[in-house]
């Protein structure tokens, strides 16, 4: 291994022996300011929900006419999250998540408990009464990436996307 720290620092005209790299220091100060701006941007993004969790932009609302689904816009890998489907009219209702959901998420629980539930190659199909008007799904992202999945509620299908960050 070459020891490059052995060379002695230069002596300035005023007698001070110091290895000062002013141009590099100026560059670093600029970089510092950019970093502080980035830190601020990260804090603002987190407050808005762009890093997962709560926040104004943390969730996507998908309108199905007589039902509204709320899915996470940004989720954190391995952190429990949830999806909700709210119905305007009383049940029974059929919710089907495309195979993309199972590819990206583990579904831990469905509340209230579905009347009938089946997981096939076409995805997860749930028949619910939705007595309270809302069905909650507890989910846990499996891996980081952009999850794309279909959501079909009483025959109407929309595509949903969730960014899963590490």
């Amino acid at each position: 291994m070459i020891d490059r720290s052995a060379s002695s620092p230069p002596i300035r005209s005023d007698g001070l022996q110091i290895d000062e790299h002013r141009s590099l220091q100026v560059f670093h100060w600029r970089l510092e300011r950019v970093a502080w701006g980035t830190f601020l941007a990260i804090v603002v993004a987190a407050l808005l929900g762009l890093t997962g969790g709560e926040g104004r932009l943390a969730r996507n609302t998908l309108d199905h006419g007589s039902a509204q689904a709320e899915v996470p816009a940004v989720a954190r890998w391995q952190e429990p999250d949830n999806m909700t489907v709210s119905f305007d009219a009383a049940g029974p209702h059929v919710i089907r998540f495309g195979p993309g959901l199972a590819e990206w998420f583990d579904v831990a629980s469905v509340t209230p408990r579905p009347v009938h539930e089946s997981a096939t190659s076409e995805g997860l199909r749930l028949e619910v009464e939705a007595a309270g008007g809302t069905v909650h799904l507890s989910i846990r992202p499996r891996s980081p990436g952009l999850a794309r999945y279909d959501l079909e509620i009483d025959g109407a299908t929309v595509s949903a996307r969730t960014l899963i960050i590490p």
């Binding site: 007698g15 510092e32 391995q78």
Partner: protein, 152 residues
């Protein structure tokens, strides 16, 4: 493998944040900053360990962090450029008794910081007794009094 990657990621993130926060952040450690450092340690704990609280996982993480730190010190010793990038270089704040206001502003150091260092290191009373003041890589300020400068 997961533990090693987590350890490396947290090490690099902390290294980057501390370096980009500026040297003065580390130098002006108050009691509150100390508490803040403890909170940072507590916050990173979950990211490091994940769901695995076993002794083996903890041992792997500790070994990973120490290995990275040793590797980094070896790399810095081998490459002067990397050392400069990671540690920076000393910055002359006062030369020949004249404060460099622009450098002080950028480095977030004011005359009070220099006078504090002058008092604590050499018992100096006034700014005109200071020959040189250098902001070191560690974040501390070194003072060379006028007499000592002449003798050196």
């Amino acid at each position: 493998m997961d533990s090693v990657l987590r350890g490396a990621a947290v090490y690099l993130v902390l290294l980057m944040i501390f370096r980009l926060s500026g040297r003065r952040t580390l130098a002006q450690v108050t009691a509150f900053d100390f508490v803040l450092l403890l909170i940072v340690a507590e916050t990173t704990q979950q990211a490091l360990l994940g769901d695995d609280f076993s002794v083996v996982n903890a041992a792997i993480l500790i070994v990973t962090l120490f290995t990275l730190d040793i590797a980094m010190s070896c790399l810095k010793r081998w490459s002067r450029g990397l050392a400069l990038l990671l540690d920076g270089s000393p910055t002359v704040l006062v030369a020949g008794g004249v404060p460099d206001r622009e450098v002080m502003r950028r480095a977030r150091v004011d005359l009070r910081d220099i006078l504090l260092a002058a008092r604590s290191q050499h018992g100096l009373r006034r700014m005109d007794e200071v020959d040189f003041a250098v902001l070191e890589q560690s974040g501390g300020i070194s003072i060379i009094p006028k007499e000592a400068g002449k003798n050196g």
